[in-house]
Amino acid sequence: MISSLVVAFVVGGLICVVGQFLMDGLKLTPAHTMSTLVVSGSILDGFGLYEPLIAFAGAGATVPITSFGNSLTHGALEEAEKHGLIGVLTGMFEVTSSGISAAILFGIIAAFIFQKRNTTY
């Protein structure tokens, strides 16, 4: 179990380093960086490489935003395997829903309970 924590730390950290490089080195805006990472996660899954990474790193691979692209692709591929080309369209959100629905739900809740704050240091 400790080894899986260490692996999650290292792999997750490295994905973030890639993100930081995109921001600092290639001067991308945060939105561009995130989109790039999501697309690369999706492509990695196309080559069947992201699932082994999850098996290896656990949260180190599922927590970064790259896993979002992976699970979209993965859902689409799984459906496609069952139903052919139509499945590509229908399967996409089958796996991903939790992150998005949580974000929507908690976003509304936050708007409800939190006031805008005065600026502080």
């Binding site: 179990m1 080894s3 082994p52 990474l53 098996a55 290896f56 859902g75 089958e94 796996v95």
Partner: protein
């Protein structure tokens, strides 16, 4: 001085979590199965359950080999299927399954209940999302 104790305590608690890999076969009268699983060098531990229809094996793959987790699972599954052609064989590396198997072994179920609990685990392992 205080810090030292905290560190020691931390190691002890963390150490307690990472229990050493075990090799358990249940019911324990199947030596053939143990032999097959023992000679697998890609795993460091296993726990298996068997009833009349199903053979359920939870394996433990060392962290560095986990990239090829699916392949290892499939290889072992094939080997076991050859050995037990009339049983449904499931080989999986998963903490939850391992813990569930441990629970069952501890309780030492009767064969009827054993089937029931195996079915429960099977349902769990099939969930994909």
């Amino acid at each position: 001085m205080k810090n030292k104790w905290i560190v020691i305590l931390l190691f002890l608690t963390l150490g307690a979590c990472s229990d050493a890999p075990e090799r358990v076969v249940y019911p324990s009268d199947d030596l053939e199965l143990e032999k097959i699983l023992d000679k697998q060098d890609s795993i460091i531990g296993y726990k298996s359950l068997m009833d009349n229809n199903t053979l359920l094996v939870s394996i433990e793959i060392p962290t560095m080999k986990r990239f090829s987790k699916v392949k290892i699972e499939e290889n072992i599954k094939k080997e076991l299927e050859n050995e037990y052609p009339n049983k449904k064989v499931i080989v999986i590396d998963d903490l939850k399954i391992k813990w569930e198997i441990e629970k069952i072994i501890e309780k030492e179920h009767e064969s009827k209940e054993l089937t029931k609990s195996i079915e429960k685990i099977l349902a769990l392992s099939k969930e994909e999302t």
